[in-house]
């Protein structure tokens, strides 16, 4: 595998830090060097969150340079657009079809970008992008918190790492009472990607 630089972005409370932690552990178990770092604001919930995950034979900086990301995983649409300048030319983006208007939009001082605008922004750099109905799938599973495993399932379809390693790492990280539901969520993510034509 060539180097893979991934960023996972979204809104605080969506489970991004856990998902990127597991991704890092998967890469380590698959024999790669890996660094991962989170950029969070002060808030517990509701702020913009970014996790950088770098996978290669040797990684120096934990932060990925702008214009170097191979895979952007966005848990929310506006955040996908916000971090799009990290993408390199020919990259891939997976975007959860969720709209979470920030306070400035709710109070009417700013506009939430339309789907076309978001697609145009992504298209500047991404070769392929996939919109996934992750939030509604998570709700169907009965727990919105499974969204992060759905998104992780999507990522697993894009990386050449054995599926068994993914599942082992998820097993090690999640407590047994929520494991089953989250494994279903992970598989749902993979299904969504295969429906979109990935493998």
């Amino acid at each position: 595998m060539k180097k893979q630089d991934l960023i996972m972005v979204g809104v605080g409370g969506q489970g991004i830090v856990l998902a990127s932690d597991i991704l890092g552990e998967v890469a380590l178990a698959a024999g790669y060097d890996v660094k991962k770092t989170d950029t969070l604001g002060m808030a517990q919930r509701g702020g913009s969150v970014v996790s950088h995950v770098r996978i290669a034979d040797k990684v120096w900086s934990p932060l990925i340079k702008e214009g170097q990301v191979d895979v952007l995983v966005a848990f929310e649409k506006l955040e996908a657009a916000r971090w799009s300048h990290y993408l390199r030319e020919g990259s891939v983006a997976v975007v959860n079809n969720q709209t979470t208007p920030p306070l400035s939009v709710s109070s009417g001082t700013q506009q939430y970008p339309g789907d076309k605008q978001i697609e145009d922004i992504l298209r500047q750099w991404a070769e392929r992008f996939y919109f996934i109905d992750g939030t509604s799938k998570a709700k169907e599973l009965g727990d919105i918190r499974t969204l992060n495993m759905i998104m992780l399932g999507c990522v697993s379809s894009l990386l050449p790492i054995d599926i068994k390693i993914w599942k082992d790492c998820i097993c090690q990280r999640l407590s047994s009472n929520i494991l089953k539901m989250n494994m279903v969520a992970f598989d749902k993510g993979r299904e969504e990607m295969s429906r979109a034509g990935v493998r």
């Binding site: 120096w60 900086s61 920030p102 709710s106 970008p113």
Partner: protein, 605 residues
């Protein structure tokens, strides 16, 4: 065994393997997880101390008694702990004392951007800087050895990007058992810092520094990495990683010990390269110290001294300095015009209601303008403090006028009142912050007959750093039940007569309490109590907006609750963010009674 560890987890495991017996800290981003991780080891006594000063004193005491002790804090924590830290330098220790201080370049979660490295020089103590989690782990054992060998506290400087990045660690050691049980040896000339003893200790400190200067010449974590001769880079910490990526062909002197500096190694390295530069985050600490040796070196002419570095910034600096050829490919442009997503108080936050009340009573919304600066005056001055509630500064709540450092709001309120402002002054402070640094302010207020109102926001946790316990929760760092410090008894005991305890989610009671306190010309304290919503285990009774009754007055949007959203001209409540029955602030405020339980109203969107 290889593990993916954050710098903080690696510090904790490294200290544990090095045989640490006592660990103390006060939570502070980005250092918090060090103590959280070490508290999981049964053999280590670990505590959340009241504040960093107490933590440092605890570490000193343990080290005096001959055991290895670890104290950790964020950079501004060392300001609080600087008094005992300076003292520990002059007395020296017995068992090893290691102090980890985590800086916050880029100011993700701090009130300033200070560079801790200056403290090493000020205190004349050795300083180590890891550049990844492996070194964070390895350097713990080394730090304790240096501490004991040279009879000195050792400063270990981390940063957000070291503490909060995960990288691969070979955890090849196991815990070394302490050589001897704790015992204190009476030695007044070493431990009682009367002036006459200080005069005896001063030369010892200077001699120690000379010995350390020799030691660091052969310190294995100061490494020369030979590359091309035309450029030599001196770097340390995470800046080394950015520098290595930006200048893959250069020669490097990577410093693991950044105070005192290896003078001969530096001279030797400088002589081996055509051009010498320093790449370091924040102040030109290495650069100025190297310049003082008479070595020609550059750095801050082209490396920014403000903010966090990254590979891109270092490369840009390289282009400007003519050290790198600028690439021709097109540069990614920051997407323009997108709405920001600044941090906000969470849905169901127990701070939202009281700040809504302060906003309305203080007529604060009229202060609004683009940059939060206004010629207008509100009817209240609200001095603030450090915690999640500092976010109430922003619209729509606009309910904070000052924030400086832990506990400062109370003293500032007293100062404004004594200066003679004709506006009522209210100090707002969280429970953990109050116990950390607010108590002495109340003692001052009682003693000097202040007439201000102090509001203690008691959410039963240290929320912003990730929900650590504190003396007011009655739970220890080890998760065990312990004696609880009761806030109302504490403030009454100090001598405050007017003390009220109010439910954070009862809007009528909050308004009545604030009004009554403001009418009281004497000192008053209001304890606003309500659990942090992030810790709610069971959520039920999510609220919804009945669009038939809603007249779009937007009163509910003035709470600043992220669950209450408006898109396409319709207000709705995002059930995944709503705290439901535990909160109901929006339902209490809605003038049209258009908000109620989702089960009664149904999905509005």
């Amino acid at each position: 065994m290889k593990k993916l560890l954050s710098g903080n987890e690696a510090f904790a495991l490294g200290a544990y393997h090095a045989g640490v017996m006592v660990a103390a800290a006060y939570p502070g981003t980005p250092s918090t997880e060090i103590l959280e991780s070490i508290a999981r080891f049964d053999e280590v006594y670990a505590e959340w101390s009241t504040n960093e000063k107490v933590a440092m004193e605890l570490g000193m005491g343990a080290a005096y008694a001959g055991v290895r002790a670890l104290v950790s804090m964020k950079q501004v924590g060392l300001n609080v702990a600087s008094d005992p830290f300076m003292a520990a330098s002059i007395t020296g220790i017995n068992g090893g004392l290691v102090v980890i201080v985590a800086d916050d370049p880029g100011v993700f979660s701090t009130q300033n951007e200070q560079d801790t490295r200056h403290y090493a020089k000020l205190a004349k103590v050795p300083m180590l800087e890891p550049s990844d989690s492996q070194e964070a782990y390895d350097l713990m054992a080394v730090a304790f050895e240096i501490s004991e060998q040279f009879d000195t506290p050792v400063l270990v400087r981390s940063s957000t990007r070291i503490s909060h990045s995960k990288s691969v660690v070979e955890t090849n050691r196991s815990r070394v058992a302490p050589a001897k049980p704790a015992s204190f040896k009476h030695d007044v000339e070493k431990y009682v810092m009367l002036p006459v003893h200080v005069r005896l200790r001063r030369p010892v400190v200077e001699e120690r520094l000379v010995k350390l200067t020799t030691y660091t010449e052969t310190f294995p974590y100061n490494q020369i990495i030979r590359g091309e001769r035309h450029l030599g880079v001196v770097s340390s910490g995470v800046a080394y990683q950015y520098a290595r990526e930006a200048f893959p062909k250069a020669s490097f002197l990577k410093l693991g010990m950044t105070y005192p500096l290896p003078r001969n190694t530096l001279r030797q390295f400088a002589a081996q390269v055509d051009r010498l530069i320093v790449i370091e985050e924040l102040d030109p600490f290495l650069e100025e110290n190297i310049q003082a040796m008479g070595i020609k070196v550059m750095g801050k002419e082209f490396i920014p001294r403000i903010g966090e570095l990254n590979t891109g910034i270092v490369e840009e600096a390289g282009y400007r300095a003519g050290l790198l050829a600028e690439p021709s490919h097109r540069k990614a442009a920051l997407p323009q015009g997108l709405p920001g997503r600044p941090p906000v108080l969470c849905g169901g936050c127990p701070h939202a209601g009281i700040f809504f009340v302060l906003n309305t009573i203080g007529q604060r919304s009229k202060l609004l303008d683009a940059r939060g600066k206004s010629e207008k005056e509100g009817k209240l001055i609200i001095t603030g403090d450090i915690g999640c509630y500092t976010l109430a500064t922003y619209p729509p709540l606009c309910a904070m006028d000052t924030t400086a450092c832990m506990g400062a709001g109370i003293g500032q309120a007293l100062g404004m009142e004594k200066a003679g402002v004709d506006t009522k002054v209210v100090a707002v402070i969280g429970d953990s912050t109050f116990l950390h640094s607010g108590i002495t302010g109340v003692v001052d207020a009682v003693y000097n007959k202040a007439g201000v109102t102090i509001i203690i926001l008691d959410n039963g946790t240290t929320a912003m750093t990730g929900h650590q316990d504190h003396p007011g929760t009655g739970i220890s760092a080890k998760g065990k039940k312990t004696q609880m410090v009761e806030l109302e008894r504490l403030v009454r005991g100090i001598g405050v007569g007017d003390v009220k305890v109010v439910d954070a989610f009862d809007m009528k009671a909050l308004r009545a309490a604030v009004k009554s306190s403001l009418d009281n010309p004497e000192l008053s304290v209001i304890i606003v109590r309500g659990a942090c919503s992030v810790r709610l285990r069971k959520r039920a009774g999510y609220r919804a907006v009945d669009i038939e009754k809603c007249d779009d007055c937007e009163a509910c949007l003035k709470i600043g609750c992220p669950a209450i959203q408006k898109l396409d001209e319709q207000v709705y409540i995002d059930a995944t963010l709503c705290a439901g029955d535990a909160c109901t602030i929006c339902e209490q405020l809605c003038p049209k009674k258009a908000i109620g339980p989702l089960t009664a109203i149904g999905e509005s969107k």
